[in-house]
Symmetry: C2
Subunit: 148 residues, 2 copies
Amino acid sequence: MSKKPASSLDPVEALRLDNQLCFALYGATNRMTRLYRPLLDAIGLTYPQYLAMMVLWEQSPRTVGALGDALDLDSSTLTPLLKRLEAGGLVERHRDPDDERRVIVALTDKGRALREQAAEIPEKLFCALDMPLDGVITLRERLKILAK
Amino acid sequence: MSKKPASSLDPVEALRLDNQLCFALYGATNRMTRLYRPLLDAIGLTYPQYLAMMVLWEQSPRTVGALGDALDLDSSTLTPLLKRLEAGGLVERHRDPDDERRVIVALTDKGRALREQAAEIPEKLFCALDMPLDGVITLRERLKILAK
DNA sequence: TGATATTAAATCGCACACGATTAAATCGTT
DNA sequence: AACGATTTAATCGTGTGCGATTTAATATCA
């Protein structure tokens, strides 16, 4: 029973894959994306597009910057994503007349209507997760701390 | 105090961003990547490349398929990544003589040597995380369950 | 044996992420 | 007003992820 504590400075042990939080996070993210894919395919969204739509369903219109703050993404990622949502008729983009540097993103009727079709997704995903609710909540809260 | 339980079927509440495990996971993964970046830049690896190298430091050689099982990635992602590691002189790739369908990936001396430089990364990252050790361990174990 | 099925990796196309740079608009200070 | 600094998106290049297809090698079984 001479097992060293998990805070061991032993570099070999420290590098083992099983010990890595990063790897657990990576695997969990991969699985989450796979679980969402069939549900999101049905409404024609990718996973990041779905997250962006959730932000907009909470509040629209929003500037690209405000969207980026909510999603922790910058314009180099968001601009092409939003152009695809625009091409799909879900959002409109136009410069803010009060400050031409800003671009305002607003849901279209079609974008708002999509919310109804998306409404069943969280419940379906929870079932697919097959994890007790309190486990999900604990995990989510710890992840929020990690995400700062 | 009439707050509904978190398992509520109310679609509006269910879709709220704050309630989404997927979003917490997304944010945590983003932050983790940002924390790793400066550490990995110093040894010339990207985050997925670092994960692949960890798998190889545990056991080399391995086939592309075995690497994919460990990382939960398929050849369409791994092949280009491995070619970049090969271009950097960290691994060698060659067909398995016993089964020409397989490709064997093996660390080079340079690839093995990199392990020493990477040895300090987990400790540095743990410090950057600023989360108590038991919190990290609990989180990691719950994520492993999620990743199945 | 020989036709067919299966397996393993590579290839291709699309959609992120993100660092670095660019371009335009606004702000701040004098 | 004027000019440099800052802010905001967009653009560009590199590196993932992954579904779908392709190619080559091996396995299966009539």
